[in-house]
Symmetry: C2
Subunit: 248 residues, 2 copies
């Protein structure tokens, strides 16, 4: 069954199960080594890509819905999703459904609640669902064409992720347990999309008070290896909850 008929067939059930006018879109960023990706899906028969998204059950809370949608659309489980913004715009999705019959669930106005997460992409094997031909990690710096306002939603999620660096620590589940300062700097640079001054970065990181300098370094190689660090997990988690000590 082609995508148009799949959607038409699902419309009655959607009217029964879901809250009209509210949708959810998930922006799941993935980091590994020096690469930042985002998890996208593609509807059968379409060229352009979408953020994994869906609707909210009548008895389901938003956060629950986001977690369920992500798992159903991509196979990704146990992802810590946070809402970041609500997207509106009277015709944000309707142009796509112009040739569909009146009364179709998908044709009504939807405001989209955006959720985002940052994970290690090697920990998630994407699996396309019944409506999709593909579900893949795509390079944030080389994104394919995207439908509706999904690119704008993605861009906003990235801005939010970058802003959070000002008051929350990052890296605990993304770097190896022991890492060098250049490796930590590379994580920040990849997220920010720009190079940082090494001295300033070192000073800011030390000032955050969440790192423990180790007494050993990685062996091998003719040159003196850079110092190894690990996160002070207790201080990291405190900063995650209450912000850095030197932030406001």
């Amino acid at each position: 069954m082609d995508i148009k008929n799949l959607l038409i067939a699902s419309s009655d059930e959607a009217w029964e199960k879901y809250l009209p006018h509210i949708s959810i879109d998930c922006v799941v960023f993935g980091f590994h080594d020096a690469s930042l990706k985002v998890l996208l899906t593609r509807l059968k028969g379409e060229n352009d890509w979408l953020l994994p998204g869906g609707y909210v059950g009548k008895g389901e809370e938003l956060k629950e819905a986001a977690i369920r949608i992500l798992e159903q659309r991509t196979g990704a489980k146990d992802i810590y999703l946070q809402q970041f913004e609500v997207f509106d715009g009277l015709n944000r999705t309707s142009a796509f459904f112009e040739e569909y019959p009146e009364g179709l669930w998908h044709k009504i106005r939807f405001i989209a609640v955006g959720f985002y997460a940052l994970v290690d992409f090697t920990h998630v094997i994407p699996v396309a669902d019944a409506f999709s031909s593909d579900c893949e990690w795509q390079d944030v710096n080389n994104l394919p064409g995207m439908l509706m306002d999904h690119r704008a939603i993605l861009d906003k999620a990235l801005i939010t992720l970058r802003r959070e660096l000002n008051y929350k620590p990052i890296g605990l589940s993304l770097l190896p347990e022991e890492f060098t300062m250049p490796e930590l700097q590379s994580l920040y640079e990849i997220i920010l999309g720009r190079k940082l001054n090494r001295g300033n970065f070192y000073r800011k990181m030390i000032a955050y008070g969440i790192l423990i300098k180790l007494n050993h370094s990685r062996t091998g190689g003719a040159h003196k290896a850079p110092n190894l660090y690990k996160f002070d997990v207790e201080k990291y988690n405190e900063a995650l909850k209450g912000g850095f000590k030197e932030s406001w």
Copy 2:
């Protein structure tokens, strides 16, 4: 007409005019001198207070709706509102409407999109609307009882306002054009709800690069008056858009 009948009378019109399941609540903070307040309303016959709120017209964008609602509920115009979070919880509002007839608009599940702003409270004269007995600026440190989850929404808005201090400047429309460093510090302390170290505050503010030190001070008084500053409006606005230079 008492509030119960007012609401019942408005229900049919609401079903016709508004998008079901979406509501808006506005958290308008007001600063002046050394005081932080928030704009609250009280329904006729109620003891507890509410955030000014309402619904979204079928042809109306969220932001437009928030501005209209604020003006209709409180008289406040030209307030720069920003959305900050969506509030859910299956029974967040229904308990209040338990004794109302089935089919009443207000009884259905609503997710609330929270908008907030920070203004000078002397610039806004609150005016209660037809449903309300009162509309007043209330002290954030001495809040009255509030209905439903409106206190939780207010608390989240305050957290958001505080977090923003880490990457956005504040004060341009809240302080006199020329001000002292202690006056600027007092604004931050009032918002953060705690005292700050004078030396650290001074250093951070200078590092932000948005202040111009003036060559004169306020006259009068036996002691040397503190230096006067003003905002470098161009740098302030750049930081407002793109964040501080030393932030990520």
